[in-house]
Symmetry: C3
Subunit: 267 residues, 3 copies
């Protein structure tokens, strides 16, 4: 099965993407949203999140720097989004690291219908019931061990689950995709995970179907990472990070089509 990428729809539709996110990578998330042609808005006050999300085309929730008041705002925004059929993507950053994060995500999953959930292997393993928990960058978890559980969870939650890693894995519970593009350098700068989630928000906001949105976004991050790596000496993470944003702005359907190593299995 081949994918008809619709990346350029973002630039055409210019969707407004509402982010309720962490303060570590928020600037990068705003910049990637702009770089790919969408329009970012960050707003977290309970007084305004419902109104803001109501005229947005997608909502991005990211628990990277969580607080009690932020949870309230996330639930309020997400409920409005569900009512208005605004798609929502969740990034459960570091969900295995503390009980507070885990309980928050469980509560969100109970109250909100997510369109896509994206995390690293450790975070998604936690959602599947295998709690790990070494900060937010756990890279040791072997994805292969729990693919059946991911598939089951996606089906149960009626959502798309995307796992970033050396090999990316995406499933809606029936269909599956694996992506082998990428570079380890992407794990050496903060925010590449959060930005991938922001990209999913941009794709969803442009009307791209959830499964394709997730595949497209993880592929874009991998391809741009490979491209930026080609421009720097090993370990030049400062320059690499700058080039990433050059790459996001250059991205197009042809690049995805030509360089993407995506293996899709229909259900």
């Amino acid at each position: 099965m081949t994918i008809a990428f619709k990346w350029e729809k973002i630039r055409e539709e210019q969707p407004l993407i509402h982010h309720i996110t962490n303060y570590v990578t928020v600037t990068d998330c705003a910049n990637i949203t702009l770089a790919c042609g969408a329009s970012p808005v960050m707003a977290h006050a309970p007084e305004e999140v419902s109104e803001m999300v109501a005229h947005s085309q997608a909502l991005v929730l990211n628990i990277g720097t969580l607080s009690q008041s932020l949870i309230e705002s996330m639930i309020r925004a997400a409920k409005t989004a569900n009512q208005k059929q605004v798609p929502i993507v969740l990034d459960p950053v570091g969900v295995g690291a503390t009980t507070f994060r885990l309980q928050t995500v469980q509560e969100l999953l109970r109250q909100v219908q997510f369109t896509v959930i994206r995390g690293n292997a450790s975070e998604i393993a936690t959602l599947c019931g295998f709690r790990e928990g070494k900060g937010v960058d756990a890279i040791d978890t072997e994805l292969k061990q729990f693919i059946p559980q991911v598939r089951k969870l996606a089906k149960q939650l009626q959502t798309v689950i995307a796992v970033s890693g050396e090999v990316d894995y995406i499933t809606d519970g029936t269909q599956e995709a694996q992506i082998t593009n990428g570079t380890e350098l992407l794990t050496k700068v903060t925010g590449t995970g959060c930005m991938t989630t922001a990209l999913i928000g941009c794709c969803l906001g442009a009307g791209i179907p959830p499964f394709t949105s997730a595949i497209t976004s993880l592929l874009v991050m991998g391809l741009v990472g490979e491209w930026a790596e080609g421009l720097v000496e090993a370990d030049n993470v400062g320059s690499f990070r700058t080039y990433l944003f050059d790459g996001f702005a250059k991205m197009n359907n042809q690049w995805l089509q030509k360089k993407g190593k995506v293996y899709v299995t229909a259900g």
Copy 2:
């Protein structure tokens, strides 16, 4: 009428600029303040804002990521600033997007005397009573349609109003200036609006008169944008953003005088 630019006063005076601002572009605002020779301090706790602003040379208020507790701190700081004759610049980010933002700005305008207010056309249109509201990057609003209202509002509030856009517009209600420098690339990275407002704070803090402060700052952003654009391939927004900061640090009066396309009409 020609303008005698005093940009270098910032480097001579090294004013302390107190920012109460959003967490999306705060790093960029600190860096531009340093790049132009001033000293930034970010502080938002109600317990300290009055004391902080009392030994600052200017106050920058930016509602980009507003919350109830931030409003309280803004009003407290601004009242002290007004008492101590510390100039204040307001950036009403996304004021048209939600009732919460609009009411907050209306409350600020009631309680505080601002020296300068800077926004994009959509934001300033909202302040003039034409409410729009597509996030924070609305670029469609035609400035020409409501210039008389901007002039009237500036006179009524006894402030300088600066509107960033393809053509920038600045008025104190009597005098007017238009600036045609700039590049569309400035709209492709987050924070260029907030940074322009931060620049106004730096100019005000160095003792440059309000109308000239606003003109100088919008011109600096336009000129540095043009210069940085010349260094990059189209769409290389990552590199462009890096070069912007190189440019801010290089800026001088001669550059402004030589390359500025500023048209001033005395009242």
Copy 3:
């Protein structure tokens, strides 16, 4: 006395570093932590800080954008860290600028045993009882005038105190070190102080002794600053900032050994 640098232990141990810090430089602190081979986690909610710090190898506290609720979280995290023998480094950003900051730091010093405290001359002078207070970048304070007081304070608090400046000064109350590497450009970008503190956290987390951790971190910042300065035209602070991160990722023991200008006096 010569120092056996153990910088590469960070890359070997990959410690998890828990930061409770400000929102101005937090992205830079996450990126420097990753660049030197450690793993950052930012978490500030009172509900989770104890659990987070309990499985971290070091805690970094930075009061750059302080609030009442943050103080509570800092104390809670620090008490757990003290119990679990997790080393803690404090950055008293702008402590002289307001009573709120000064009282907070005094309270922290009463309740918490810090492993290292790092600040600029003005901040450390304030801790020694000489209150100054021009924002967070006070550079005028003459270190020489109060070295005896710093030594005394270090002994009294049983901590290492590190003072960043044109000449860096580090003491544990008995031993002393001075470092003459560095460049003024490091004062022209925001976050270099906070990042130095983050580096100390990384060293401590890798098991490097406190006095050596402080020396190593201030030296790394100075050396990388010199290296990055060599790559840019004067005043190109945007590019300089990008190259800093390239340099942090390249750092190794040999570089420290070969280029470091460190003068240690045993007690």
